[in-house]
């Protein structure tokens, strides 16, 4: 139990997907203009990362590894991720058309989010059990969502601030992102086993 907790803290905070591994930067800069949309995107990505990592774990351990097809890993994982996104979209649409109207906008963006593939490939290297893989993916995506929401909050405040014209727009966004990354470096002192 303790190992799982430490692994999850490490995945979410110490080795944060965005600020330590530099994955998913497109959505980090593009969808963080409002806290609500950042939270919606974060939850959608959390779902897709966790579900596709579970599916990727099964494909890796029951198909690719036993038959020596490791060279097909990246292509297969991309296919699994695209299928997971499509499955999610179909399910949300069937379950509730109203939810689909509201949330469907985020799903196509996730297909091209490299954080999803990055977490799946990290799991292969880690050689974890199924539950550990699922929890690692869940924690990584929670870390992703946390940073998205924090950064969206900062940008909402920033939109009201007066900054030098040279820095207005994306430049000040990147400066704030770098300060946030430095703040998260403080977690690197935590021992996660």
């Amino acid at each position: 139990m303790k190992e799982y907790a430490l692994m999850m803290i490490g995945a979410a905070l110490v080795n944060n997907v965005i600020l330590a591994r530099f994955l998913g930067l497109c959505s980090f800069m593009g969808v963080t203009t409002r806290i609500d949309t950042a939270a919606g995107m974060g939850l959608a990505t959390t779902f897709v990362i966790t579900v596709s990592s579970m599916a990727d774990w099964a494909v890796q351990n029951y198909l690719l590894a036993p038959f020596g097809l490791g060279f097909l890993r990246t292509v297969t994982f991309i296919l699994v991720i695209a299928s997971a996104v499509q499955f999610t979209e179909l399910t949300v649409r069937k379950v509730s058309p109203s939810l689909f109207q509201m949330l469907g906008i985020y799903l196509p963006l996730i297909t091209t989010n490299c954080a999803v593939l990055g977490v799946a490939l990290l799991l292969v290297e880690s050689r974890l059990s199924f539950l550990a893989s699922a929890l690692f993916a869940f924690a990584s995506s929670l870390g992703y969502s946390l940073v998205m929401v924090i950064f969206a909050g900062l940008r909402e405040r920033l939109a009201l601030a007066t900054v030098p014209r040279l820095f207005a727009g994306p430049p000040i966004g990147f400066i704030v992102a770098s300060l946030l990354a430095m703040a998260f470096m403080g977690f690197s002192g935590i021992s996660t086993g």
Partner: protein
């Protein structure tokens, strides 16, 4: 066209907004279609990003929805509709959070009882399916309360977009 702009309620002032086109006007409802803005608009790949599966036109058509006909709207008009920020978060929690929680719970319980990867995998799949069913019931309840329904906020002057500020008012 000349009626006064509707006044937004305090809850709607912080609403998550989107621009839609009026594509059909019936007796009691108007049919609205979101503007093609599936990508985040945050980088140079804005035209291609997120178009991977299915055509953009089909995706947008699938997201067509109806709104009570109360503002004398005409076909081709652009209007802003909004949902309460809390509704967006609630919807995301129901659609994604619930199935994920049940899937992870299923995997954890199977790991404790059977201590095997295959059992955990099967339990996660069952948990996911169960979560989808629960989410369906929760979404129905939310819909019955009217929390998920978008509301008319205002008409859009030609050329206006909702692209929010990305950081800072340009100073000297």
């Amino acid at each position: 066209m000349n009626e006064p702009m509707p006044v937004c309620s305090p809850a709607e002032r912080g609403a998550v907004e989107g621009i839609v086109h009026v594509v059909r006007v019936d007796d009691e409802v108007v049919w609205l279609q979101p503007e093609p803005s599936t990508s985040c608009g945050g980088c140079a790949a804005v035209g291609q990003c997120g178009k991977g599966i299915g055509s953009l036109a089909r995706r947008i058509e699938e997201r067509r929805f109806a709104l009570a006909h109360s503002q004398r709207l005409e076909v081709g008009e652009r209007i802003v509709v909004g949902v309460a920020p809390r509704a967006l978060l609630q919807a995301a929690l129901i659609a994604y959070g619930l199935p994920l929680a049940t899937a992870l719970a299923g995997a954890a319980i199977a790991e404790v009882w059977f201590a095997g990867d295959l059992a955990s995998l099967a339990a996660a799949a069952v948990g996911l399916a169960l979560g989808v069913v629960i989410a369906r019931c929760a979404a129905r309840r939310l819909l019955a309360r009217g929390d998920l329904a978008p509301r008319f906020l205002r008409r859009v002057p030609p050329g206006e977009s909702l692209q929010p500020s990305t950081g800072g008012k340009g100073g000297a």
